[in-house]
Every structure is written in C-alpha cells, then in structure tokens.
Amino acid sequence: METRVSSILIVHPDRKTQRIVQRILGVTGYTVDIADDLEQGTRLIAHLQPVLVVVDGSAVLSPRIDEFFAAAKARGAEACMTLLGGAAVDQVPKILGMGAVTNLLVHPMPVLAEELTITAQKLIRNDVFGAEKYLLWGTDLSSITLTRASQRADLVAQISEQVRARGQSARVASMAMLVADELLSNAVHNAPVDARGEHYRRELPRDQELELDDRHQVRLRWGCDARYLAIEVTDPFGSLDRDTILRALAKNDVREHGSGAGMGVALAYRSCDHLVFNLAPGKRTEIIALIDVRHPPTERLAASSYNVFVERS
C-alpha cells in the first residue's frame, strides 16, 4: 500500500531558483518536490499531498493556473505562495489584478529567504499572529491601546518622533506616519460591524471624536530591529476578509484617480515593503506593515510583498 507523505511542491522554471527555494523550505522538515512548469506540477500533484505549493509569478499568469490551484486544493494544500524575481516586478499589477493570489513575495535573496521561511512556517503551523515573527530576537515592541479616535494623531506623531530619535531617516519616519495613520483609521472606522455585518462607523467623519469602549479599542504595536520597522494594528472585529483585501491591493484607480473604497489599504501597501494581513474571521484582524530600513531607496524594488493569512479554526 502506498504511503503518502506531506510535502511542499515548488513550480519554477529556473533551476537555480528551484535549488534556492528547496534549501530554504527544506529546513521545515517537509519533503520538497519540484516541477519545472504547471503541466509537470499538475501531473506530480496527483501523487502528492502538498501542504504548500510555491509557484513562479509567470506560471500564475498562465491560463492553466486555475486547474493547477484546484488540483492542489483537492490534494489538501493549505495555501499557495507566489514568487517574483526582482526583474519581474512589472508583473505585479497583473498578478494583483487576478484577485486570487494571497501570498506574493517579490524580493530577491537574501530577503526572499526571510519572507519565504516565515510565510511557510506560519501557514504550516497555523500560527499567524504577531509582528515578532518578522523581527529579530530581543526586539522590543511598544504597545499602545487607542481609547479615543483622536489619539490617532498623537500616536502617529509619536511614532515619527521616536523613529527619528532612534536614528532612522526622515523618509522612513514619513512612511511610518502614513502607514500607521491609515491602518489606525481603518481599524477605528472600517472594522466595526454589527450583527448584520453593517460597517456602522464607516461613514462617520474621521476627525469626529469617538470614545472607544472595550469592544472598539484598537491596539498599535511597533518596533524596529535595524532590518525592518514593523507597525502592527489590531482590531477585535475580524471583519476584514480576503476578497476585500485583494480588491484594495489591486486598485488601479489609486494611480489614476486616487480615490474610492480601500484607498487607505492601497496607499499603505504602496508605502511599505511588505504588508501582512492576519485574519481570524469574527474575532480579530491584525495588519503588519514592514518598512525596510536596511536598504537605501536605490536598492529597493518598486513593488512590495504581501500575505493574507486566515487562521484555520
């Protein structure tokens, strides 16, 4: 009788990348299988039980991808990660436009190793929450709870001051302000839903004072490990869903018109290097923005990674 072992399947045409990804994901202890293209991947998957599949960005744009994803899901894959080499960042709008890719990693090595390992471990272990997973051991995270909507302005200013006081550039401080402001504003005004799923604070003026009781309080945590400045915002509603996120990330009218629903998320995504959504539906939403403080702008890609993790119950 055949014994099938859980594994990770990589579909990538480049041999060198296959080896790099195989070495990185091999540390998880899972068997790593490799396919050069979707056709081979689809054939292989019939004999595998992959917990994860990792697919090259060009393969994602293939007309065969739906068939492949369906086969992976049928064989028990929990999630699919898409990799994009730095040279292919112009493919990001197309991939976003598909509205189906929940984990897109755009950075080359060595950042790829960090992003890939953390993403794989979170998916395999079903342990998705916490900015600590992205920061080095010992990094202190400051934590503040918003009890009034008007605290947002002070908190954003404080982050900027403290980021500057810790030696980071004005550029990093400015990005941190924008990201923190958007995520806090979303958590206070967009997250609250009633029993019918109505977002009852969405239309309230953002400069209107609101007392936030226990049910409405928003937690902000942030810290920096000299690789990343991490900003984490958590609300206790868990009303943000995968499709809403993917629509916001894909917004083309941000570039053309700069308006519409989801603009805050779209701007936050374009202002950081990695945006992570951790969702526990009906319980909490946690969004983590990572701003790379290691590399100068001339060494940073014109695209950002993102993940949408949904906690399995």
Binding site: A153, R171, M177, L178, L267, A302
Partner: protein
C-alpha cells in the same frame, strides 16, 4: 497662523506656507479662494505626510483650481508629497512645480539629506533624468542622488 487638524497654514509674501499633516481636516479645496491675481502659490516644505483622505482633498483642490482657471504653483515640495505626486497621477492636476526636495546621500561620510532642487533652473537636466550635482554640507564631498531618477522625477513628466 491658522490650524486645520494637524495642518498649519501661514501666509508669507505671495505664498501660503503649508505645514504638518494633510488629512481629513485640511479642507485644502477652500484655499482656491485665496488665490491672488489668478495664482495660488503653495509652499510645501513643511508637509510631513499626507493620508488617503488628504489625497482626496488635494485632488479636489486641483479640480477646483482648474474649474476657476487658477494657476497653481507648488514650491519647495517636501518628499512625502513628491511620493504621492509620483504614485497618484491625479494629484498633479495642472500645477507647476517650481522647486522640490529630493534625497541625496554622501558616499564619503554617509550623511543623508533632503536637498532642494530648483525645477526651473535644472529643467533640462531633469527632463533627461539627470539629478543636479550636490555637495555634502558636512564633509564637502559630492553627494549621490539617493533614489532612481526615473522613479523620483516621474511627476515632472508631461
């Protein structure tokens, strides 16, 4: 000095000096009524960031100016605003940028600085995506432009 939320407005000469954060309280579109002789001059050196609602208001201001046939001049545009002008085409409107801040870094001493570029004086070079040369204020060495010119100067392209 006038305060609107986190934003400040101060009249100085022919310009309105805008500082702080441009957000939901900014009501920028109302500034169009303060145009003088068909010109609205905004000095933006003090802007720290602009959020999504501030962007929406900024676009309304540009539209209101166009409708009223008012020429908008943007002076000393701070880096956070340059990023928005690059990211969101609609924020550019018909405004003329006469000067803006840009990131430079010194290879010799490691200093990073946001330096002012006169967009009119350097127009020809900027059109070729060539940043003007700058000198490090700390050690006197030549500074390198600290971004991709094609990315950072894209807001100047017609």
């Amino acid at each position: 000095m006038e305060t609107r939320g986190r934003m400040t407005i101060d009249a100085q000469g022919d310009a309105l000096l805008i500082g702080g954060a441009i957000d939901e309280a900014a009501a920028l579109h109302e500034l169009v009524t303060r145009a003088q002789g068909g010109r609205l001059v905004l000095d933006l050196a003090g802007v720290t960031f602009i959020n999504s609602l501030g962007v929406r208001d900024w676009i309304r201001m540009q539209a209101a100016a166009q409708k009223a046939d008012i020429a908008v001049e943007l002076r000393r545009v701070a880096e956070p605003l340059v990023h928005q002008l690059n990211m969101i085409i609609a924020t550019r409107g018909n405004a003329t940028v006469t000067s803006f801040s840009a990131p430079y870094a010194c290879d010799a001493c490691g200093r990073e600085e946001s330096l002012l570029i006169d967009a009119l004086v350097h127009a020809a070079g900027l059109a070729r995506m060539e940043p003007p040369p700058m000198t490090c204020p700390e050690c006197g060495a030549p500074m390198a432009f600290n971004d991709f010119p094609e990315r950072y100067f894209s807001f100047l392209q017609p």
